[in-house]
């Protein structure tokens, strides 16, 4: 419940940022104001209200997190399911999974984003391209488990095509795995994105929370003791991750209740 409430709050901030703040994103005040009643978290080096920046950053953070998680899920489910096929194709995809497990994710991402240049879509595709392994392994394990179940055997005997079985019988049974991977995937994608943005590979035109901390760190928020500027975006990342985690806990509890 708490997770849902938190998530709703963040979603509202993403969709209607002007509900939460009376300032526009580019409204200037004096730079480096201390937190006060007018500026809850103070102002940054250009005089923008930090609280407003955080509210407006919600949309981009969520967007990148959700989009890359969706892509991760699609890739992972497809490759995980394909890797259970017999023969060369299955072996190939299985090998692909084993290789990607070994790749150092963060470093590859940094090098690739340096080569490709930074924009929102590049980040989303890159993060998705290197995060699908966990999903694929889970899906693979689950599909192998399902394939040995009597109802699948029954379908094969009745002469349904493989395509039909996968789409109509196996996919619905993957629902639980997929939903929990999706929710936790958003977390890891947001974490990945904010780390990359913090290191300076974010999209400057769509500043996320990670980009904000990067700016705060580079423009000397330390020296000015503007601690809220440094810390609050990180705290928001934490809150968002926790809300998705709580929701996934709810699904897990429901599954256990059904099983018992």
């Amino acid at each position: 419940m708490l997770g849902l409430l938190l998530l709703l709050l963040f979603l509202a901030a993403a969709l209607q940022p002007d509900w939460f703040t009376s300032y526009g994103l580019k409204d200037m005040a004096r730079p480096w104001l201390k937190p006060s009643a007018e500026h809850v978290l103070g102002t940054n080096s250009l005089g923008y209200d930090i609280y407003t920046e955080i509210v407006y950053g919600t949309r981009d953070t969520l967007f990148i997190g959700v989009m890359s998680s969706v892509l991760t899920l699609l890739l992972g489910a497809a490759i995980g399911a394909l890797s259970t096929r017999k023969g060369l194709l299955g072996g190939l995809f299985n090998g692909l999974i084993n290789v990607f497990v070994l790749l150092p994710r963060l470093i590859t991402l940094i090098v690739l984003s340096a080569f490709l240049g930074t924009s929102r879509w590049h980040l989303i595709f890159l993060i998705a391209a290197f995060s699908w392994v966990g999903t694929a392994r889970n899906v693979r394990a689950q599909v192998i488990h399902l394939n040995s179940q009597p109802f699948v055997e029954n379908c094969i005997i009745q002469g349904y095509s493989r395509f039909h079985i996968v789409l109509r019988h196996i996919l619905p049974n993957l629902y639980e795995v997929l939903i929990s991977r999706f929710l936790l995937g958003i977390n890891s994608c947001i974490m990945m994105e904010s780390t990359l943005s913090f290191l300076g590979f974010g999209d400057l035109y769509h500043p996320t929370w990670g980009t904000m901390i990067n700016f705060a760190y580079k423009r000397g928020a330390f020296m000015r003791q503007a601690y809220p500027y440094l810390l609050m975006p990180g705290v928001c990342i934490m809150g968002l991750s926790l809300s998705f985690y709580f929701i996934s806990l709810y699904f897990e509890a429901r599954r256990e209740a059904i099983q018992n």
Partner: protein, 326 residues
């Protein structure tokens, strides 16, 4: 034997993919590869310079031949030449790798150690108050980005209380051999290692706890308890042996987790390690250096994971005694 071969083959393929990726990327992207490989924009170069770089990088030869030169540079250990820093890439990396390892290795040892002991305790006494408290606390900690941990620690311990220094690995006046060098170095290492450990402990703990939880439901644990063995004996002599394999795999994974984490941490604490080198390389668009770092870090991770895989197979009694029986 088949198991050995599998894990080694996968590691080699992974290596090969990184190699090919490194080789193809600058040649596949739009623009002249010479700009990527030398690190200078092609418009800024005179024709003579262009010629010089082209022949130095063997870009005027056929692709297979270029690949061969690339492989040679890997085999003879130079990993290419950074024109921006005017030095051989491997020398640059060797200079910095020490600082990274000084942060990474203690963090790996600490985080896996704490994760193991704590997870063993809480997984064994599942749903006790201590288990529930520490699990929820660590789940919260798990969602905190590592740079946030670092910033909070710096603000609390460096700015508010001035206990620890916050930049570099040693003070300016200290040189190796001077009295107090070691203490100074330890003081500087404390915060980065603490950050990395705090970032890595939660996932280690949760993994261990869940594994132990499953193991604690086995019959042999019940039997051991019935015989009146102490909890400590059951935990460390019975359960630990049975979960040794997932634990060793976890240590291998921790290395890659911590090396990745140290990239971020080094930037915050201004440690002159590989992470700093990598961000420097990215900001100055020093592509050969980036590729070299990617190659070396992949090497470290692949070796650590394969080593843990092999160790797992080696300590498996089924393998050890199976061969004698067969």
């Amino acid at each position: 034997m088949k198991k050995y071969r599998n894990s080694i083959v996968t590691a080699l393929v992974c290596f090969l993919i990184v190699l090919v990726l490194n080789f193809i990327l600058p040649r596949l992207l739009p623009g002249d590869p010479i700009a990527y490989l030398s690190g200078f924009a092609e418009e800024d170069m005179t024709a003579a310079q262009y010629e010089r770089y082209a022949s130095a990088l063997h870009l005027n030869e056929s692709l297979p031949k270029q690949f061969w030169y690339y492989l040679c540079s890997l085999v003879n250990g130079t990993l290419g030449y950074s024109f921006k820093k005017e030095a051989v890439v491997s020398a640059l990396i060797m200079e910095r790798i020490g600082s990274t390892l000084q942060i990474t290795l203690p963090a790996v040892v600490l985080s896996t150690g704490i994760g193991l002991v704590w997870g063993l305790h809480c997984g064994y006494r599942k749903n006790s108050l201590r288990d529930r408290l520490s699990t929820s606390a660590l789940i919260v900690l798990n969602t905190v980005p590592s740079f946030l941990i670092a910033l909070v620690l710096i603000i609390l311990l460096c700015f508010q209380h001035r206990i620890f220094p916050y930049t570099g690995l040693s003070s300016a006046v200290m040189a190796p051999g001077v009295h107090g060098f070691l203490a100074d170095r330890l003081l500087h290492l404390f915060l980065p290692v603490l950050t990395l450990t705090l970032g890595a402990v939660p996932s280690r703990y949760l993994l261990m706890r869940n594994t132990v939880r499953k193991a604690a439901e086995e019959k042999y644990v019940l039997y051991a308890r019935q015989r009146g063995l102490s909890d400590r004996k059951i935990q460390y002599s019975y359960i630990l042996k049975n979960i040794a394999q997932p634990f060793i795999t976890m240590v291998g994974m921790s290395v890659s987790l911590c090396v990745g984490g140290s990239l971020v941490i080094e930037n915050i604490f201004s440690v002159n390690g590989m992470g700093k080198l990598l961000t420097d390389a990215v900001y100055t668009l020093d592509y050969p250096l980036m590729q070299g770092i990617l190659f070396v870090t992949t090497g470290i991770m692949v070796i650590s994971i394969v080593a843990s895989d092999l160790l797992c197979i080696l300590i498996d009694p089924k393998v050890r005694w199976g061969e004698e029986l067969a």
